[in-house]
Amino acid sequence: MSGHDHGDHGLSRRKVLECMTWAGTGVLWTITGGVPRSLGIIDSAQAATAAAPGMTFLQISDSHVGFDKPANPNALGTLEEAVNKINAMPAKPSFMIHTGDITHLSKAAEFDNADRIISQSKLDVHYVPGEHDFLDEEVKFYRERYGRGTKGAGWYSFDAGGVHFIGLVNVVDLKAGGLGNLGAEQLSWLEDDLRGKSKSTPVVLFAHIPLWTVYPEWGWGTEDGGRALEYVKGFGSVTVLNGHIHQVMQKVEGNVTFHTARSTAFPQPAPGAASSPGPMKVEDAKLRSMLGVASINFKQNEQRLAIIDTPLQG
């Protein structure tokens, strides 16, 4: 077990287990000086964010629009449920991040459907692609829709609420036997992008595949993710968001907090808990407790980030 990073740094095993247990109900996390603290389950957490001033943004991931297999015959339907949940939030978030696998097979109709539903949130959405979004022959559907103003395969940065956000692409040019890949060009862009930034600027990195090594046996990690993390090491507050593994997982290492969002489409097994990372079939009644969205509340000047995971159904 010791070969894997499962949150041993500053996060006790018991804390991890609590986090896993609560994954079905949703947790509000605040991170103060790199140490996570849970403020409670979703209902009280939502009340707390509604009352708290500061910037709130949402993360949504792995919608897999077009997926219709037994694990969830209607991925578009559960995406719509997630969007309804967003629309019902007491305080409107500033914007949304989608960490990839918008579609299942990169078909034009799948992108159309995803867009039709997600746009009902009436939020600005910042996307990064998942490997499922780059399956069309010419790899153009994602780029034509979401790639405007981005570099390379679709990476970019922007500032909001005093936080510097960086969207990275780690799903292209994957090598046999390897993990996710950022590549030299993107890494040097990242280095440039961060150059001259005050070390007190909070940084949020987001990408599809985890930038940290979750479980290499299933390809859950990024080969050169460590290089990206080197560049942000000196910053006071760094948050790394990803999708891909369809379950909540969090790790804190120094000033860096890693957080993985749920899918809105189907759950995947915990590392090593099944013979493959494929879609996990659960009882219909349980499915919605394993899907959801994450909202992140940033309180300026306090370097405090609260992450709330909201399942579609408690």
């Binding site: 022959e137 390809g219 915990a270 808990a273 494929g278």
Partner: protein, 113 residues
Amino acid sequence: MKTLNRRDFSVDFGLTLAAAILLPVTTAHADDTNMEVHIDNFVFQPPELKIKVGTTVTWTNRDDIPHTVVSAGKFRSKTLDTDDKFTFTFTNAGDYKYFCSLHPHMTGMIKVE
């Protein structure tokens, strides 16, 4: 968790042996010039295949998740959805390492003599 994993592998292995024994009986038309590789649970099965020059290999994706079959500079399938197939005929001897470009930890080998 680890124990469970190992048990799964031994089950898979047992099934593979059973399939190998049954193959000549159940697939009457199978011959040296047509071979099959299945993708099950993110694994190419069998992971290594020894064939003669001129043999056609057919890969079938039996997962709920799309996969690809790629051998750098040699062959590249389109994305294979559930039950989709990819076929390639090997006309030159050599070792053909291949992988899934979506899940690069999935690798396989075709040895052509």
